[in-house]
Symmetry: C2
Subunit: 184 residues, 2 copies
DNA sequence: GTCTATACACCGATAGAC
DNA sequence: GTCTATCGGTGTATAGAC
């Protein structure tokens, strides 16, 4: 698995080959079929691994301990953005349909669903329960990530917009400013 | 070219093969090298073709003839969204980095730059000249498109959010409501 | 069980005959 | 300009050694 991640990072997710992964663990390509049913099964395990990684990162980030809806959302968005931008191959696997014909299995989707549920309940804590609002929030943050990786990899042209976007979203959702005596 | 588009639509952009394209025009694969230097050269021509298509669609849509900044932006956003969602393979080529190692040539970028310049001058007409605001607008609409195609292809879960997102953006940009006697 | 050796069908690309 | 033949690469399958 870690060999597979290394190859994906170095050569690109789609350029991952069984022969290269096998070579890094001192094997020949066909031997991998003892452990994985196919190349897609490797992607599947990586997909689950990546979302499990993020679930732990998100829990460790402790956004829930902050005071104020906007502060919590800003922190969650920043955590997601930074995690996604830090590893292009991982992000392509987690959030895009880069690999032709690859669809994660139901088991692999488990941790991804857990992450989304965490976000949903976070929003619910601020009275946001509408599914449409959740879809809006994920789309907007995802849009920033995609633009950053596609058009300014390694830079910060869209990274600098994360806080602004969260506040824009909070305004649209009708969330009050965190500090009551402030007016926007 | 039209054969290439047909293959990309039917089998996926990345599954496009020279043999299949050649077969559809009554040739063998190597003969294509007389007309294109490589497979990437075909992608390059398709990239330019797609953005040229959109440039024409956008000009024909006539958003500029509408009255009111928000109405214009809503119309432009809808035009872009519908065009992108109508053809997954085309959108992957135009707006994502789906093909490993493929980077459009400077010539192929021409029409794409023209489209962006059109959008930029549209915003400038409403007093929006900050590059950051342009980046924000493109990221947000792009985010909707990606979510729609990835998580609800053929549906309308994010399509329904286009107007709302444009108004959210307009609020953030400080654009007044189109109808002066209305208050948000 | 675990791995190797071998094979197959496909890919993009090139060389050279016509 | 198009062909055939071929090369090195890929994912994948299977037979058989240990």
């Amino acid at each position: 698995m870690s060999a597979a991640w290394a190859v994906a990072r170095e050569q690109g997710l789609a350029q991952l080959t069984l022969r290269e992964v096998a070579a890094r663990v001192g094997m020949r390509a066909p031997s991998l079929y003892t452990h994985f049913a196919s190349k897609h099964a490797i992607y599947d395990a990586m997909f689950a691994d990546a979302w499990t990684q993020y679930l732990e990162v998100d829990e460790a980030a402790g956004a829930d301990e902050l005071v104020g809806a906007r502060a919590v959302l800003r922190h969650s968005a920043r955590t997601f953005f930074d995690f996604a931008v830090a590893d292009l191959a991982r992000h392509q696997l987690m959030n895009q349909r880069t690999i032709p014909g690859f669809e994660p299995s139901a088991e692999a989707y488990g941790p991804a669903v857990a992450v989304l549920d965490r976000f949903r309940s976070q929003l619910a804590g601020f009275g946001i329960t509408n599914e449409e609002d959740v879809a809006l929030a994920t789309a907007i943050i995802g849009g920033l990530v995609d633009q950053q990786l596609a058009n300014d990899p390694g830079g910060d042209r869209w990274s600098r917009l994360v806080d602004r976007v969260v506040d824009m979203l909070a305004d649209n959702l009708g969330l009050p400013p965190d500090n009551p005596e402030e007016t926007s």
